[in-house]
């Protein structure tokens, strides 16, 4: 069985680890009268090395599901398993990337990338060498001594990806990681991510509300509906890899896109919903802090 699989698969071997089981997971958020069901009885199983996109309107619980997989919030019921083990909290084997970077502004690019190794107690020279390799991998040679605030949005996300991948995660969790970038930068980042993923296969769960992005990136798209968050349809993307402009402009792509669009239109709530992810950005801007004095 194994041998057959290897023969049929010419691209890098499927990894042995990184399978995700989402078993009848429900998540309730908020308290009192504001309490609502963000995820309602969702079951999905994801193969090792699979690239899965969660596609849906805002408020459909896709970020909540990602937060659950990252270990930042516990399901109200159901189970989340990574390689058969229950997910009990955040950990470096499940890398997490947000829409806006969360690089530490007080560390240089190099120290940011090396941060995970430092937490594991890797010696300084080794940390540095690995971080430099990863910076080269994401195309940021020469920026190791810059501070994150000196970089553009696209470069910041490159550093973020290097910082997560240096830990060799089994699963990469991405929450609209390219949503804040301009169209051209987004395309470059999508290609970079696909190239990295082709080289060292890991499971990717990628949240987006951009249909084109989902169809370009994913093996499988899970279309979700809002309040309560449910998976309404599962779409296997038939295109070969590496994917080309031909796929992006071909009739099959258009057909899939039309289908996704109609699904999203049906599932979008009539009234826009407030973002209620527990990990959303703080409302106040920390930068314009007012000082207290007597």
């Amino acid at each position: 069985m194994n041998a057959v699989l290897k023969l049929s698969d010419l691209s890098p071997a499927e990894p042995a680890t990184g399978s995700l089981e989402i078993e009848r997971v429900s998540v309730e958020l908020g308290s009192g009268a504001a309490r609502f069901t963000a995820l309602d009885d969702v079951s999905v199983s994801i193969r090792p090395g699979e690239f899965v996109c969660l596609l849906g309107p805002s408020g459909c619980g896709k970020s909540t599901l990602l937060g659950g997989l990252a270990g930042h919030l516990a399901p109200s019921s159901g189970r989340l398993l990574l390689d058969g083990q229950p997910i009990a909290g955040p950990g470096p084997e499940r890398g997490l990337v947000f829409q806006h970077h969360t690089l530490f502004p007080w560390l240089t690019v190099l120290d940011n990338v090396a941060y995970g190794l430092r937490m594991r107690g890797v010696p300084r020279a080794e940390r540095r060498a690995q971080a430099l390799t990863w910076l080269a991998e994401v195309g940021l040679q020469g920026f190791e001594n810059s501070y994150p605030n000196a970089l553009s949005g696209g470069m910041q996300q490159r550093v973020e990806i290097a910082r997560v991948l240096i830990n060799q995660p089994r699963v990469l969790l991405m929450d609209e990681p390219f949503g804040a970038l301009d169209a051209l930068t987004r395309l470059k980042m999508q290609e970079l991510l696909l190239a990295l993923w082709a080289k060292r296969r890991m499971t990717v769960v990628f949240v987006t509300h951009d249909i084109d992005e989902a169809l370009f990136m994913a093996d499988r798209i899970l279309v979700m509906s809002a309040r309560p968050g449910r998976v309404v349809e599962e779409i296997r993307v038939p295109a070969e890899r590496p994917r080309t402009a031909e796929w992006l402009t071909g009739p099959s792509f258009i057909e899939h896109k039309r289908h996704c669009l109609s699904l999203l239109r049906d599932s979008a709530p009539a009234v826009p919903l407030a973002r209620l992810s527990p990990l959303s950005e703080p409302s106040g801007d920390a930068a314009d802090s007012t000082a207290y004095s007597d």
């Binding site: 990252a70 270990g71 930042h72 909290g89 955040p90 950990g91 470096p92 499940r94 890398g95 997490l96 947000f98 806006h100 969360t102 530490f104 502004p105 007080w106 560390l107 941060y115 995970g116 937490m119 594991r120 501070y147 605030n149 910082r163 997560v164 830990n167 527990p278 990990l279 950005e281 703080p282 106040g284 920390a286 930068a287 802090s289 007012t290 000082a291 207290y292 004095s293 007597d294």
Partner: protein
């Protein structure tokens, strides 16, 4: 001369001119015994008299004792307040139960002015040195504490989430995320706290028997030596300004990534 030097030379000139203008106005008002009804300069010493008094103090062997005692009091009070304020501020900002427990008594103590602490501090501390340090401590504590709490509350929760996902443990979150993220706010608190330390110095040194700039100022008042009062006031002002500048420099050296006005 380089073209780009000109604005910086002008920028350096402006503060000097502003200070000169203040002294000139003071001289005019005091030498003409200006009486504006609500406020009068009839008994205010002139800048030259103050300069004479300052010269006399400068020559006096007592100056080093005055300076030494004041600096050590302010420094002790400030360091204690910094340790207590930052430590408590981190705990109060981070843990709900610490906040619930500690904030009520602190809120009651906060509005009490340094002067009001004098009798109690004399009763509480066997040495007058201890009570003087306590008063500068009280003055510096609250701005440091409140700005630290504010800084901790301003930490982006996604930053903490990311750090945990990268393998940071409980104490690491404090040390490597919350403390540096709150650092700009803490520095603001330290800066204000340093100011209030000097602010409270005269109050504290009212109970001093011998030395200290605040004592010198207060004593000059009691013996009606008005020029000396102004010398003492200016000395406190200068020392306060100098220590703030030092703190600012230290902050810049420790936080090269942080530029006030830009995004933190």
């Amino acid at each position: 001369m380089n073209v780009s030097d000109r604005p910086s030379a002008g920028r350096r000139l402006l503060p000097a001119l502003s200070l000169l203008a203040c002294v000139a106005l003071w001289h005019l008002a005091a030498s003409r015994h200006l009486n504006l009804g609500l406020v009068t300069f009839q008994n205010v010493p002139q800048p030259l008299e103050v300069l004479d008094a300052a010269w006399a103090l400068l020559q006096s062997p007592k100056l080093q004792y005055h300076l030494g005692s004041s600096l050590s009091r302010v420094l002790s009070g400030f360091v204690l307040a910094a340790v207590a304020g930052v430590g408590l501020g981190l705990a109060i900002g981070r843990f709900h139960w610490v906040r619930e427990t500690l904030m009520p008594p602190l809120e009651v103590a906060r509005p009490i002015p340094a002067v009001a602490w004098i009798p109690l501090s004399i009763l509480m501390f066997p040495s007058s040195e201890g009570s003087m340090i306590f008063i500068t401590f009280v003055g510096a504590l609250f701005p440091i504490l409140l700005n630290t709490i504010h800084g901790v509350h301003g930490v982006d929760p996604r930053l903490i989430a990311s750090a945990r996902s990268l393998g940071t443990r409980r104490w690491g979150i404090f040390l490597r995320v919350i403390l540096p993220a709150a650092a700009p706010s803490v520095l603001t608190g330290l800066s204000i706290g340093m100011g209030t330390c000097w602010f409270c110095l005269v109050t504290a040194e009212m109970i001093s028997g011998q030395y200290g700039i605040g004592y010198y100022t207060w004593e000059s008042y009691t013996v009606q030596n008005y020029a000396n009062i102004i010398v003492g006031m200016l000395l406190i002002g200068l020392l306060g300004m100098g220590s703030s500048a030092l703190l600012h420099r230290a902050g810049q050296a420790l936080m090269p990534w942080y530029r006030p006005g830009g995004r933190a």
